[in-house]
């Protein structure tokens, strides 16, 4: 799978300023030594169970299945985790590792605020200082999460440079890390950035596919035929795919945020519209202009509004192991509303991108097929924005 350290085919690597190299190498060494350490694994497993509420259910969405009249649809309920998304899986792993490394301060970027909330939560739990960088545009459209982070004791720094969204928050967190390395761990929220982050975050999120595998076998006596997840940087998708990569019978589909459509400039569908590049520490696909300037991408979803994609996704795309499909704002909003009405589950607008593609795909598949859709997060945070999208102004 990984012929060269930190590479996924030609993607990945460690394209970061010299000042950070030593910190990243120390992190890599610490992760390699702790990941198979029984005491560390036990401590993390207990945290995931008792604090985060794992395992998350694999729920048979019977009403949705009946309505669509095709494959049996199961929802992997990461939205039921503590803090309301899959982000907690990775954050507890990294925070525990950082603590073992003697770090006392966590910094993080956040788009929708889900990763920021998870990081602020872990910092509160472990008695660490926490600073979260968030694009000013995102802070405005995800005001509830900003308040949650502050409530949890974190400092939220609004980022006003560039497009004032997720990519700028990542850049600012990287800059902050170069300023302060000794006591600070950069808790990156997705399967991106320099090695070891793509591998480490994937490993921490792989619990999702480990559980899906076991739960699908228990419920259906076999592996799913299709696994669907939304992809921004791609951490919930990588976690959902990982234990099925070596199972060729399982179709893996990543749903990208197409914004106003892949032919419009207002899109964030990186695999569908980007080309190879080097940015934010990694070689991968990026939305960019002809001179390599990173494009100002757009999606209704602050969590998917990112011009790149994790290097392992780029690799899975290259070798044809996973498919990456574009889903527009309109489709995601319709899925957001439909799942709420039909199943009584309000998904995060990010996760609604995966639901939207399931709505399209399920009716084309036979009823004996089993489809798993990962609901990466819950949608409370999105209600005000969706109301605005529908022309209704509500007080949050």
């Amino acid at each position: 799978m990984q012929p060269e350290k930190g590479r996924f085919g030609s993607h990945g690597g460690q394209f970061i300023p010299e000042t950070l190299m030593n910190a990243v190498q120390q992190l890599e060494a610490a992760y390699e030594s702790y990941k198979n350490d029984p005491a560390f694994v036990r401590e993390l497993t207990e945290l995931l169970q008792n604090y985060a509420g794992r395992p998350s259910p694999l729920y048979f969405a019977e009403r949705l299945t009946r309505r669509l009249g095709g494959a049996k649809i199961y929802l992997k309920r990461e939205d039921l985790n503590h803090t309301g998304s899959h982000k907690i899986n990775n954050v507890l792993g990294q925070a525990l590792l950082a603590k073992k490394m003697g770090k006392t301060r966590l910094i993080a970027e956040t788009g929708a605020g889900q990763h920021g909330v998870a990081t602020a939560t872990a910092a509160a739990y472990m008695g660490m200082e926490c600073v979260v960088f968030m694009g000013e545009v995102d802070a405005r459209r995800q005001a509830l999460n900003v308040y949650r982070m502050k409530l949890l004791g974190a400092t939220v720094v609004p980022v006003t440079t560039g497009t004032a969204t997720l990519k700028d928050a990542v850049s600012e967190a990287m800059r902050e890390w170069t300023r302060r390395i000794d006591d600070t761990h950069y808790c990156l929220g997705s399967v991106m950035g320099p090695h070891p982050f793509p591998m480490m975050v994937r490993d921490f999120q792989a619990v999702i596919s480990a559980e899906i595998r076991e739960q699908a076998l228990a419920a259906e006596g076999r592996l799913p035929d299709v696994v669907l997840a939304c992809v921004g940087g791609g951490s919930n998708a990588m976690g959902s795919f990982y234990h099925f990569i070596e199972e060729p019978s399982v179709r893996l589909i990543g749903c990208e945020a197409a914004g106003r459509g892949i032919d419009a400039p207002e899109t964030a569908a990186t695999v569908n519209t980007g080309r190879p590049g080097i940015f934010h520490g990694m070689k991968s696909y990026f939305c960019q202009d002809e001179f390599g300037q990173i494009a100002p991408v757009y999606s209704i979803s602050a969590g998917l509004d990112y011009p790149g994609v994790g290097p392992e996704h780029a690799y899975l795309h290259d070798i044809g192991r996973a498919e990456y499909v574009p889903v527009t704002d309109d489709e995601a909003v319709e899925a957001f509303e439909l799942l709420s009405r039909v199943e009584g589950i309000i998904p995060a607008i990010e996760s609604a991108h995966a639901v939207a593609y399931a709505l399209r795909l399920a009716p084309t598949l036979p009823p004996e097929n089993v489809m798993v859709v990962t609901l990466s997060g819950r949608g409370d945070k999105d209600c005000a924005a969706i109301a605005r999208y529908r022309g209704e102004d509500i007080d949050e």
Binding site: G162, R175, T178
Partner: protein, 257 residues
């Protein structure tokens, strides 16, 4: 001897950085000439990038202004050719990996070489990843300048051994930008570098005053100043050449004193 290594033979060298196209390429051209006439021994031409992760606020803003003004890699290569005909000062491109990668490494290095550019600095390409760019750089004789930092630790020796052109010594933690004081003790790092290479070393990041330049000049073979010059360009716009000229003259004097 190359134009670049010659630049360090006349006493402590002053390396000036400018962001190309801020506020426009004609002003950049005149600023470079003014810097060279007033004692700059090397000029770094910054090719702006949309998301410069190693830069502080001053150079970030200059990058944004230049890109908003429509500057491109193509037009900056033309500027470099033009400058090469007007001044013998060594010119070094400083930009980010994606600008070069997207243009095509081979094509970028060949065009840079043809334009008379003397080196390329890529702050987001550390020693471990330089193979992505080094073969093309070598093919066209454009040295890929390595950076070394106080946090480089044991890697500093390896970086120094394989360095080309000159060594860019990062003064302290953090991104580019003026600092009131530079507290890092660079002597152990400089000692490691000196044991492993005979190439000249220039210290950069955070240097803006003549006192800082003099202090850093005692440790190294030259100093690099970016944000302070870019700030003058921001302040004076099209009238920046005179202001930058005066500033460079004062800094160079402090270095030679």
């Amino acid at each position: 001897m190359s134009r670049l290594s010659d630049a360090f033979t006349g006493g402590k060298a002053f390396v000036a950085f400018v962001t190309c196209g801020d506020p426009d390429l004609e002003t950049t051209r005149r600023v470079v000439l003014a810097a060279a006439e007033n004692g700059a021994d090397v000029v770094e031409l910054g090719i702006p990038f949309s998301d410069p992760t190693a830069e502080g606020p001053v150079i970030q803003a200059a990058n944004a202004r230049a890109l908003a003004g429509g500057v491109t890699t193509e037009r900056i290569l033309e500027l470099a050719s033009q400058l090469r005909r007007q001044t013998p000062v060594p010119l070094v491109f400083m930009t980010y990996a994606n600008v070069v990668y997207s243009y095509g490494c081979d094509r970028f290095m060949s065009r840079s070489s043809a334009a008379g550019v003397d080196g390329v600095i890529l702050p987001d390409v550390p020693f471990e990843e330089k193979q992505e760019f080094a073969p093309a750089a070598r093919r066209y004789g454009v040295p890929l300048i390595s950076l070394v930092a106080p946090t480089s630790g044991e890697r500093a020796a390896a970086i120094a051994k394989e360095a080309e052109g000159f060594l860019y010594v990062v003064s302290s933690l953090g991104v580019t930008g003026e600092r009131k004081t530079i507290a890092t003790d660079l002597s152990p790092l400089m000692a490691t570098i000196r044991r492993n290479t005979a190439l000249p070393c220039a210290v950069g990041f955070g240097i803006s005053t003549p006192e800082q330049a003099a202090a850093m000049g005692r440790l190294a073979d030259g100093v690099i100043v970016g944000s302070a010059i870019v700030r003058l360009v921001e302040q004076y716009g099209k009238d920046a050449p005179a202001a930058v000229g005066d500033y460079v003259k004062a800094m160079k004097q402090a270095l030679l004193a």
